[in-house]
Symmetry: C2
Subunit: 364 residues, 2 copies
């Protein structure tokens, strides 16, 4: 089937580009001597997670228990839930999940660790945990200076098996020059490696030293002592990654096919995808909703829920007509795929398959 037979707006996954991206990531991890454990929140698609494992991933990373449930049902067996798993309902589901699959989870608070320990102890089971460390993103995680004491505290909780430390160096998305952002990633890697050394010097085991953020993965995982890389977006890439200098447009595997639905003015083109197709996410200084590789004269400057509002750059018009189709690379691939139930895999302009985004909407 040709892509023009699909209804729009529709997400298209270019398998040639995705395969090349995966090869690159796996080579990079192999050269750095670290494991590749991709974050599947980017695509929420079991087929794609399987492709990542076939390419060389040792396991996967999930954000939520419900996301991990979908992946486990699809046969993905080694799952790290990089999230503080609090709340009674979530603990029940986590314990059930951990009976069938190899599961480890993040902890970053005394209360969270105690609740986790108590629940698993009541079921006469153990769970592997990694300590989340805040290396500068200032979201979750304990500060490096408090980590040693926290790991000792974990040692008194018999249902928890401490396996190591992890961080999301998400502050590489913040403003700054490329060299500054890569420097933040290197600092995060060094902080993690030093902390692992300090833990081991204190007689505490620390098998896993895990980092993960797509725009700077080569910088963070190259630090000696880091053992694992958990990038998400760079399996597919998006306009934000290009804006951050992490890849080129030719490396963006995911795009949307859209239809022009209105031409109200010479400088304005309206397409059938807005914030309910692309999200309103803006992760960095890039403030557009997508990029149109075939129409560099157009900027995707605004979005209502079902309208994408494209404007021509100064002095330009556009010949696009109502009914014509155009390809758009989304600003944020993770948020945008989460809006859809399925994606179509393509090679060039041929549709070669349909994959269900089976963990879409799994936030529990």
């Amino acid at each position: 089937m040709h892509i023009d037979e699909l209804p729009t707006p529709v997400p298209l996954l270019d398998l040639d580009i995705m395969e090349r991206n995966l090869e690159r990531i796996v080579s990079l991890c192999r050269e750095a001597g670290v494991a590749y454990r991709p974050h599947v929140k980017t695509h929420k698609t079991p087929e794609l997670a399987r492709a990542q494992v076939l390419a060389g991933a040792t396991g996967i990373t999930c954000a939520k228990v419900s996301e991990a449930e979908v992946m486990a049902r699809a046969g993905l067996r080694d799952i790290f839930i990089a999230y503080p798993t609090a709340g009674r309902r979530r603990l029940e589901r986590l314990e059930r999940l951990a009976r069938e699959s190899t599961i480890s989870v993040g902890v970053d608070s005394a209360q969270g660790a105690k609740d986790l320990n108590e629940y698993f102890q009541s079921r006469r089971r153990q769970i592997s945990v990694l300590l989340e460390v805040d290396t500068g993103h200032h979201r979750c995680g304990v500060l490096p200076g408090n980590a040693l004491e926290f790991v000792r505290f974990l040692g008194n909780l018999p249902a928890l098996r401490f396996r190591g430390i992890y961080t999301h160096e998400g502050h590489v998305y913040a403003d700054g020059e490329l060299w500054e952002r890569l420097d933040r990633a290197r600092c995060a890697g060094e902080t993690m490696a030093q902390l692992a050394g300090a833990l081991r010097a204190a007689g505490l085991p620390c098998a896993v030293v895990s980092v993960g953020a797509s725009p700077s993965q080569h910088a963070a995982c190259a630090i000696p002592g880091v053992t694992e890389n958990r990038p998400g977006t760079n399996a597919l890439n998006d306009a934000t990654q290009v804006h951050l200098g992490a890849c080129g447009w030719e490396d963006c595997a995911l795009s949307y096919l859209c239809t022009v639905v209105s031409r109200p003015a010479a400088e304005r083109v309206i397409i059938d995808g807005g914030s309910k197709t692309f999200t309103s996410d803006h992760l960095s200084g890039w403030k557009e909703f997508g990029f149109l590789p075939e129409h560099p004269e157009l900027r995707f400057v605004a979005a209502s829920e079902e309208h994408g509002i494209l404007k021509t750059t100064a002095g330009n018009g556009s010949n696009l007509q109502v009914g014509e189709r155009i390809r758009v690379i989304p600003s944020h691939v993770c948020g945008s795929l989460n809006l859809h139930d399925r994606l179509y895999t393509v090679r060039g302009d041929r549709v070669v398959g349909e994959w269900r985004i089976a963990a879409r909407g799994c936030v529990e």
Copy 2:
């Protein structure tokens, strides 16, 4: 069931508040002498659309053909698709849909109207159309000065039955004082009423004169000559509507129950809902992701995909502990409900039902 038995994050619809909101809207429309045709893109939930019809709506408004298909299957029979319906695949589905239900659609371009006419003519059928008018939002729509000529052009397309004109006065969401925004809405209503008069004076019928934007609905639909009101959000309301002065917090029928998952610092509380629960939508000067009625000391200042990042206001700390649950009123109810498969209806803290957000993700 008590709400605390639900997994989080989860959307809760307070039926008492929703019913009061619907009564108010219906009274307002009755007093203004206009029909109430709510936009169901807000909730995408057939049960809620049925509640609106039972409360007095004459029919519903949809944004996309696929959304209308879901509503028609659920028994909603009088549907206006307030969107320029371009693209071959969409025309095929529209024609099928119009065989079973009373459907009208928007047009705003010569090409779109010709394609629509050609397709319906080829199937030996007719379709009702309304002309979209741009009253200042500058998204879709013909400018008022071009409308008479456009309606004459429509008269030459035999498969199209012209029924009237509609506008979305979305520029009431833009910056400005309340009086300025209400004035924009009144101007939009006056433009529409004058245009309808000019069409009739030229011998062209114009049965429907339709406006619709929640923050200013009372202003726009009170203009003599306006016949129909198509608000969406005000059936449920959200933090943006409160920010715009359109309602109070006590009028927000939709909230999310969330769990605290991390307490990394005295001034920082992390909950289990981020942009994949609430969206990143910001429709007005309100730049937060939600509002916490029970915790006015906290501001919902940032969101990653699965993390809501709450910060205390200056000089305050928070006693919230990991595992505690809190209610959040979303910034934009339309975008946030579109992320979820179901909502729970509640009266107070009791869960009384579960409704499927059956048209979620319908963007085709």
